[in-house]
């Protein structure tokens, strides 16, 4: 089923962001439920399922972190289910492996300040304002680092995995 395939990735991401096993479990459960609820409205394309699931995991994990910190709660997007068995086709796993290697390389290629800013934004669950405070740089700098960092990664990844 879908869980067997993506549970480890989803839990890994949720745990990385929340740093809390119980919260991470809640996030994963809610994310799979969201995917299941909206399954009917999408073509159950497996590559897409993964992206969609992990987008939801990220949203929900960020929400958990912010809620825990006493901040306002946001509404979240919810989305197919194709509870597919096992680990998947070798070719598909190969794609993911290639993709993961390319992503790691892309992250290493962007300047340190952009990388740290992007990683803080994605993994810490904090807002750009808080990132600016933590890093001691103007908000505008954080915004441009995030955009330029992602754009550089996109330009590196496009010919490799995103085309």
């Amino acid at each position: 089923m879908l869980y067997d395939r993506y549970g480890g990735i989803a839990y890994g991401l949720a745990f990385r962001i929340t740093n809390d096993g119980t919260l991470a479990e809640d996030v994963v459960q809610e994310a799979f439920l969201s995917v299941w609820r909206q399954a009917a409205r999408f073509d159950p394309d497996r590559g897409y399922v993964r992206s969609w699931l992990l987008t939801i995991v990220h949203h929900k994990a960020v929400d958990c972190v912010r809620r825990r910190a006493g901040r306002a709660e946001r509404g979240l997007p919810d989305g197919p289910d194709e509870f597919i068995a096992t680990r998947g086709r070798p070719e598909e796993i190969a794609e993911w492996s290639m993709e993961a290697a390319a992503v790691r390389e892309a992250v290493q290629r962007i300047p340190d300040d952009q990388r740290r800013t992007v990683e803080m934004a994605y993994f810490e669950g904090i807002t750009h304002v808080e990132i600016a405070e933590r890093m001691g740089v103007p908000l505008g700098t954080v915004k441009s680092r995030l955009r330029i960092g992602l754009e550089k990664m996109r330009d590196y990844l496009h010919p490799k995995v995103m085309e």
């Binding site: 549970g7 799979f32 999408f42 070798p90 492996s97 955009r147 990664m153």
Partner: protein
Amino acid sequence: MIGAYALDALPPDEAEAMRAHMASCATHAGAIAELRAVAVRLHALVGETPPPAALRSRVLAAVAAEPAASRDGVVTPMRGTRLATTGASDARAANARMVPTATTSRRIPTYAWGSIAAVFVAAIAGLLVWNIVLQRRLDNRDSATQLAQRLERSVPLRAPDATSDGGGTVVFLPDERRAVVLGDELPALDAGHTYQMWEIDQQSPVSLGLMRADASGRGTAVVAFDSSRPAILAITIEPAGGSTQPTTPPILSAQPPHAL
């Protein structure tokens, strides 16, 4: 701002404003969809973590308790955020299916709306644009077909004798001179040992790096491998840290197909 939005790093009010803007601005929606496609891939920096065993049954029970969703009013967005392994014609077909049916809004279950509606609409708008961008690229380069073809070069990892455990697959990527090694059911090793991969030709073996197996015996690695040369890819068990030359016989090996 679009970078922060793509990374879920905007405060709720600003995120809401951005979603509203995206619903009517195809330029920003497209740009954000592209950056989101990058952002979601950042999970690769974390990798998989085996969840607690109880979580599986918990998720299954929660799903079982949900009413089944209707398959009516299918919308097919999102192809653009995945790797393009389908051909250009498939991408076009996907685009053709992306138009919501006239009855979609009536049939979507009520629980799907409410606070998520704006987010959803904005996301779809962005992904539609991104899909079109992707299709144009596919039309221009036909790279997806090429990728699909080269991904067919998968070969089983075989043990030299029936007594060895483990197996798996190697996908050879001749264009990139790389290979993806997917080990399955690899025996657990103690802390003093590791799996090491080798390119073995008629001369001395060349190390391709180490591979770790997870608790379920699965290991994955991307290695440099020129499959146009006569060589095999082999895996041995070596002392922790690896060896400069194999010190044990291969437990698994794979030979690139001739056609490469």
